[in-house]
Every structure is written in C-alpha cells, then in structure tokens.
C-alpha cells in the first residue's frame, strides 16, 4: 500500500491555504475516497459535496491538479506524481473548502420556459422515433455538475453571470428547442437575457463535460444559427413582410412563474 499526499484547499470566503494530508491508497482509489479518508481519520471538518460516488449526480466537481473534474471519477493513480492538489471550482462564490455556492445556476434554469407540447399532442402519448430523439437525449444526459459553467471564460474571467446563462443552460434550451413535440420559440430569450451571442465557441466547455455532451457543436452552434435565421436573415424578413411566410411564434417569456419559484441556498 502506497502513501500519497493530498494537498487540499482549506478556507472560506475570507481566505484560506493549502494543507497537506497523507493518504493510504488502495487499488482503483478515486480522489473522493481520499477526501473521505481524511474526514474519517484526520479531520472531520473538511467540507466537500458528494452523493452517488458513481459519476451520476454531478455533486463532487472540483479542480484536480488544476483540471476541472469529478472527484469520484478521477483515479488517484491517474494523477501524475505523488502529490495531488484539489481546489474548489473557481467561478462560483466559495462557501468552505471544496464547497461553492452554485445556486445561480438553478436561478437561471428557472427562467427557461419548460416543454410546451403542441396542441395536437398535448395530453396524449407521444409518438416519436428513436432517431428523432437521439439528439435531445444527448442533452438530457447532463448531470448538472456545472464543470462547463466553471471553465467558460465568459463566466470565469469576464464574470458575465449577468449576461450569459452559460453552456449548461444552452444545453437545456437546446433540449427543449429540438424536442419534436415542443411548440415554443425560445430564440428571443436566447438572443436576449440568455446571451448566446457571448459564446465565442472556444469549446472549453465540451472538453470538460463528464457526460461527453458535444455542447458547442451540437447545442450552441445550432442555437446560434437559429437565432441568426430569425433575426438577421434579410430574405426571410422580406418574405415575412410581404406575407409569404409567417413570423415564428415567440416564446412567452413570462410563462414561468418566477415570482413564485425561489431557489435558496
């Protein structure tokens, strides 16, 4: 049995420091096991989030040797060297040690109008082919780990949480917009408060997604194209003007009772 050093960030919003802990390893040990061992044997006050320990719930996001990842999915022996550094994700306000306040993500999600089935299928079992829902299912694999939100430079460096919902919510909007039975048009929201225009397709989000969702290629780029089609396509505009095609229905943005839903930490 080998011993390694786990170098953990310890502290809160007022400041903190890196603290070294010696951890006994076992075969296929993951970083979360190492943190648990410290809690049980050395210092029970180390704060970290986890639930499933099977990469299914998206609770244990952190930066491991500087790389955003799930602690329960990162094996200790995969990390280079005998010292592993674990720090909290950086984009969201720190609460304590490895725990950050991610409630902003839930508040943005609450602004997105939910699935609104077409009148002809509302209340009836849907008939959809697998091939027509494959793409939507890719998006629905999201476990809300917020690692993509953590790396997106619009949120991380430029701190534009006021202007851009972030890649996770783009994935969610895409899952609704591409749902075969949905009847809403969320493009005005996308262009407006959701801020799809802020994304400049660096693909950092896609690289860290533990569910391998093609966030940029499959969700964001098609959404950008739809927004462009609707707002900046002169031919289309002309056809609408002379009444040859109909203006697309707009998303009623006030359809979500956001005054009722409150997400509290």
């Amino acid at each position: 049995m080998e011993t390694i050093t786990l170098r953990l960030f310890r502290g809160d919003a007022t400041g903190g420091k890196m603290v070294d802990y010696q951890v006994k390893t076992f075969p296929n040990m993951v970083v979360l096991d190492a943190v648990h061992q410290i809690q049980a044997e050395q210092d029970s006050s180390v704060a970290c989030r986890w639930n499933c320990k099977a990469a299914k719930c998206g609770s244990c996001s952190a930066e491991i040797d500087g790389k955003p990842a799930l602690m329960c999915k990162t094996q200790v022996h995969e990390c280079a060297g005998s010292t592993i550094t674990v720090t909290p994700i950086r984009t969201f306000p720190l609460i304590k040690d490895l725990v950050t306040d991610v409630s902003w993500n839930y508040r943005m999600a609450a602004k997105i109008p939910p699935l609104t089935p077409r009148a002809d299928v509302a209340g009836k079992p849907f008939n959809m082919q697998q091939i027509d829902v494959d793409r939507v299912q890719e998006f629905r694999k999201c476990i809300e780990c917020f690692l993509c939100q953590n790396v997106c430079h619009v949120l991380r460096e430029h701190e534009r949480t006021d202007a851009f919902f972030g890649p996770r919510q783009m994935v969610r909007i895409a899952s609704l917009e591409m749902h075969p039975m949905d009847n809403l048009n969320r493009r005005e929201q996308l262009r407006g408060e959701a801020g799809v225009g802020f994304c400049n397709i660096t693909k950092c989000c896609t690289e860290v997604c533990p569910e391998s969702i093609h966030i940029t290629d499959n969700a964001i780029i098609p959404l950008k194209e739809r927004v462009v089609d609707d707002y900046f396509d002169p031919v289309r505009k002309g056809l609408v003007a002379i009444g040859l095609i109909k203006k697309r229905k707009k998303a009623p943005l006030d359809s979500v009772p956001n005054d009722v839903t409150k997400i509290m930490r």
């Binding site: 296929n28 993951v30 299914k56 719930c57 079992p125 849907f126 959809m128 629905r140 409150k262």
Partner: protein
C-alpha cells in the same frame, strides 16, 4: 435561546427526490404555497441514481408475431403481490398498479424523453419478477430523467426550494405536526419551518450497513423524525439486498450494477463457470415452471419472448441474492467472495448502447471493460420496504398533519420490492401525498410552535461540540456497520440478531458521549454526530422486528426458521415509540378483497 430563521408555507415537503417533487407539483396545483427542503442540491437526491426503469403496464412491446404483449394493471398487480410474498397492503397495490401508467405518460408531457420502440412508443424492458416487459426506461439513467423532469416541472409550477438543510425534528402542537426544525449544512444556523401540513419524502436508509448502494443521504433521519413524533413504522425488518452490487475494486464495493444487465441478457456464473441459477433448488415453488430450464431456452428468449421462458437470472431479487450468498458460502465464489456477472456475449456495440452508464462506471471507476470481461458482484443493501405506515388513499400517517410517500413510506412492496416499482411508487404516491396534504391544509390553520421542543433539539445538536473529549461519530458508525453487515444481512438467526442488538445498545450509550472538532460551519463530523444517533435507533428497530418475525419471507431469511409460515403471512409488525423503548406489536394484514383475489388467481 438561540436565534433561528422562520419560514411559513401551506404545505412543507421534506425531501426533493422523485416523491417529494411530485408532491410539490400536486400540492401546488391544488393551490397551496409550497416549500421543499433537501439535504443536497436540487436534483441530486437518490432518485438520480436509479438506472433500470420505471415499472408501469403500458403494454407497448410486441412479440415476433406482431401482437402486443398482453400486459395490464392486473398482471402488474399480481406480480407485485407475488414479489412481495403477499405481505403488501392490497389497496395500496391496487391504486399503484392502476395509476402507474398515467403517471409515466404524464412525465412525457412534462418533458421526459424515454427510449422508443420501432412504433415510436415508450420502450419497455424486462426485469426480475415482472411477467412482461414493463420497465419504461432511458438507457440506464432512468432516475436522472425522472428527477430532472419533475424538478423542471416543480420549478415551473412554483415552489420555494431550501437546499442543503438537514431537518432533525418535527414540531408538534398537541397531537398534530405543525412544523419542522433543523440546521443549514453550510453555516450551521438553525431554521424553523411552519406549515399547515407536511409531506415526508426523505427516502430510505442503507448507511447502517458497510456495503450499500445508498448515498450519504440514506441515514433515515426522516423515518426517525416521524417515529419520534409518534408515527407507526411498518415491517421494518424488510430490507432489500440487491443481488448485484460491485464487489471489486474495494473502493467501489456496494455500488449498484443495474438489474438491467440481466434484463439485457447478462448471466450469473460461479467459479466453476456454471450458471448456478439453473439449479432447481433456487427456484421457489411459486415460480416453478415459469422460467427457462436450459441455457439455450434462455438465449432464445432474448430474441423471442413469446415462445420461450425467461432465464432464471430474472427471478425476484430476494431469490437471486440468496442464491449468490449460498454459492459463495459453498466455496464456489471468486477470490473476492463474489460471483461473475457476464454480458460480454451481447457484443460491445449493444452493451454500450443499452447500458452506457454501466459501461462507463466500470470503465472509468473500476478499470474493467464489461464488453470484454465479466464483472464481480455480490449482494448490496439497496432498498427499504419497511417504513412509515401511510394509508393508501391520501398517504396520511398515524400522526395528524403528517403525510408520507416514496421509499420512507411502507405498505406497497410487502416483503420484497420488484425492480422498477419504486420509481412508479414515488410518482403515484408522491402525487397522492401532495393532494392529501393540500386537502388537510385547506381547513387547517398554522399551529403553535413550542420553544421547549426547539430548545431540546438544539441541546442534542450542540452537545458534541461542547464536550472536551469523547467518542468519534465515525468510529461508532463504522462499528455499527460492521455489526449490521455481519449479523443482520441476508441470512439471519436468533443468535446473530441478539448479538447485534446488544452491540447497538452499547453503541447507543457511547453515542451520548460523541465529541466533534471545529464549529457548525459545513462540518461533516458534526452532521455525522446527529445522523449516527438516528441510525442506531433505526438499526435497533430493524433488529427487533427481525427477531420478532419467526419465519422466512421475502427479504427476511431466518436460518433458524427457514420456511414461510402462513400465520405470519397474515401479520404486519408495527413499531412505535414508548418512552425510551421500542414497542413492537402485531397487526393483522387487511384481507384481500374478493375481486383482487380473483385477479391474482387468474394471472399468477
């Protein structure tokens, strides 16, 4: 007196798993203001981990002859009784089987995207104990789809979500429950919720065992809060051991391998390479003649479900778990005291498409490629059939103002739950509990909050921080787990149960002297101090009930009473608080009405 924040709602829902969130939707649609409290972040509750599917008789699947499988609520009802060894509450099962299809179809309207059949309908897969293909699924991440769907819907209808708060006591005004008290996990600050009625949807309790598929949340605090408020607990000895938990590597021990692996053709083998489930001794009389008797028939069934019987790997969970236990005890296990689960013959492409998260789980976490090698599996503590007694129509408990639904509640599953029946349980009874609580709230007023009850709980919570020295909560928890694992697992006898009971009582005394370092700000040690006291009491109740039931039925397997006893088959065990003591009484199981009897006769 320490200060605390107070929130007020018509209906308070404790727990944001599938049951809690479905209750939110129902109570909100009935016009109530609703607050929901959970220990984790929204969407991370246990429900997210469910894999295989949600059981409901939609009857969407076709046999090779083009005919639909003749599934119906009546067959589902019969299967549920058989799986539960007829200890289920008849009315609860009836409501469940009838309403499950509606609840699943409704999810689709809310935005769930299930896998499709070639005809474009929701795809259903076979599962242990279900006669027809009935598990509506999304690959092997059905729980994620379900919780995200009700989460988004509940956000849509409007609720107040209080994340990362642990409630530790229900507050009473006379007989009635009028509020709940607890602490914020991040700051340790105290909170009080006042409500006209409360829905308890706090899930199950597996953490008192060493090897469990449950997350840290499964400490049974909700169960204990209800017990301390005077609620009746039903059939607490009934704990499900899922036959296939991961047995290797060590850090992964206990994590679930979905039954979907067997549903998709996975086979169980011992160290001699034998498919031991074909041993006729392992098939209980109730299922004789209903399962394939040769490996060839089992293989043919994968392609033609109509003209072949399903392989015996798909017997109910209690049966398969016992068989694995016996194989390992007889020295036919692997080097890690497990058996093999092999699905390699289905081919890499099929496995990756149908079981993607299993593939990923073993690949990323265990460095095992399940398309090329067999998994090592051993039973793991998985589900709690017992719990707070809830009446079937509106899910009222025996305490006025308190309603219960989901895994914390009891009555539906009897002595053993069929796979997939929990996800439909939480939908059917989550909705009913929300409606029941809303109905109660319509005529009730907010009750009085008694500061003495709050002060008593604050004393319990703060005690471990005030001591200079004492016991570690982790150490006590670990000793509890080792003892429960050894003496209150699959195979039980009087001697083992008595010895674990003595240990629990000793640990309870020691737990009064738990000490933790640090302060109340996000301090897992401090959280564990309260959790472990709840777990000790729950364990005591489980062991006492297991001692009391002197027969083997479903999940309760007594080596010293190996047979089903028809007299016991007519009785539930009820546990209630009697001062410091656990009071256990027998209660006759309600008779099955004649029309249900006729259905069971016809479809069994």
């Amino acid at each position: 007196m320490d200060s605390y924040e107070t929130f007020e709602y018509d209906v308070l829902v404790i727990g944001a798993g599938g049951a809690g969130l479905r209750a939110v939707i129902a109570a909100r649609e009935a016009g109530c203001s609703v607050g929901v409290v959970c220990k984790s972040l929204l969407g991370k509750a246990h429900t997210v981990m469910a894999e295989g599917g949600v059981a409901a008789a939609l009857g969407n699947m076709k046999s090779p002859d083009g005919m639909n499988e003749p599934d119906s609520w009546k067959v589902h009802l019969t299967d549920t009784f058989k799986g539960g060894a007829f200890l289920n509450n008849p009315r609860t099962v009836e409501i469940f089987a009838k309403e499950a299809p509606e609840r699943v179809l409704e999810l689709e309207q809310y935005g769930a995207v299930f896998d499709r059949t070639p005809e474009g309908l929701i795809a259903e897969r076979p599962f242990g104990g279900h006669k027809y293909r009935r598990l509506n699924h999304v690959g092997d991440r059905t729980g994620l789809e379900l919780i995200r769907t009700v989460q988004d819907k509940a956000v849509g209808v409007g609720m107040s979500v209080h994340m990362e708060i642990t409630l530790t006591r229900l507050l009473k005004d006379g007989d009635r429950v009028v509020g709940a008290f607890g602490y914020r996990r991040d700051t340790g600050k105290f909170v009080v919720f006042r409500a006209k009625s409360i829905v308890l949807a706090t899930g199950g309790w597996g953490r008192m065992y060493q090897f469990t598929s449950n997350s840290w949340e499964g400490t049974g605090d909700g169960l204990q809060m209800a017990y301390e408020a005077g609620a009746e607990l039903l059939d607490m000895e009934m704990i499900q051991f899922h036959p296939t938990g991961m047995a290797w590597p060590p850090g992964m021990r206990g994590i679930l391998v979905t039954e979907g692996v067997r549903g998709e053709g996975g086979i169980l083998k011992n160290n001699k390479g034998e498919r031991f489930m074909f041993n006729p001794d392992y098939t209980p009389p109730l299922y004789k003649g209903q399962f394939a008797e040769t490996a060839e028939e089992g293989e043919r069934w994968l392609e033609d479900k109509k003209n072949n019987r399903r392989p015996p790997e798909l017997l109910p969970r209690d049966v398969v778990a016992r068989a694995i236990y016996k194989e390992v005890e007889a020295g036919r296990g692997t080097e890690h005291k497990a058996v093999y689960l092999d699905v390699t013959h289905r081919g890499a492409e099929y496995i990756k498409r149908k079981l993607p998260s299993m593939y990923e789980q073993f690949h990323a976490l265990g460095a095992v490629d399940i398309t090329k090698e067999a998994m090592e599996v051993y039973p793991t503590v998985h589900y709690t059939m017992g719990g707070v007694w809830a009446e079937p129509e509106g899910c009222a408990t025996s305490v006025p103002g308190l309603f219960a639904a989901g895994e914390v509640a009891a009555g539906l599953h009897g002595a053993n739950r069929l796979g997939g029946n929990s996800l439909s349980d939480i939908l059917v009874f989550g909705k009913r509990a929300g409606e029941g609580a809303a109905e109660f709230a319509r005529t009730a007023k907010l009750g009085a909050i008694d500061p003495a009850q709050i002060q008593a709980e604050i004393s319990v919570l703060m005690h471990p921080l005030e001591l200079q020295e004492g016991e570690s909560p982790y150490k006590i928890h670990q000793e509890l787990q080792e003892n429960m694992q050894r003496d209150c697992m699959i195979a039980r006898n009087e001697q083992g149960l008595n010895s674990v009971l003595a240990k629990i009582l000793e640990l309870q005394t020691r737990a009064a002297k738990i000490k933790v370092n640090g302060d109340t700000a996000f301090n897992p040690g401090w959280h564990a101090a309260r959790d472990v006291r709840f777990m000790l009491r729950t364990s005591e109740i489980i062991v006492r009930c297991a001692l009391e039931r002197k027969e083997s039925r479903g999940a309760q397997w007594r080596l010293d009473y190996p047979a089903l006893d028809p007299v016991w088959g007519k009785k539930n065990l009820i546990a209630t608080q009697d001062g410091d003591k656990v009071k256990i009484t027998e209660r006759p199981l309600p008779d099955m009405p004649a029309e249900l009897k006729a259905i069971v006769e016809e479809y069994k």
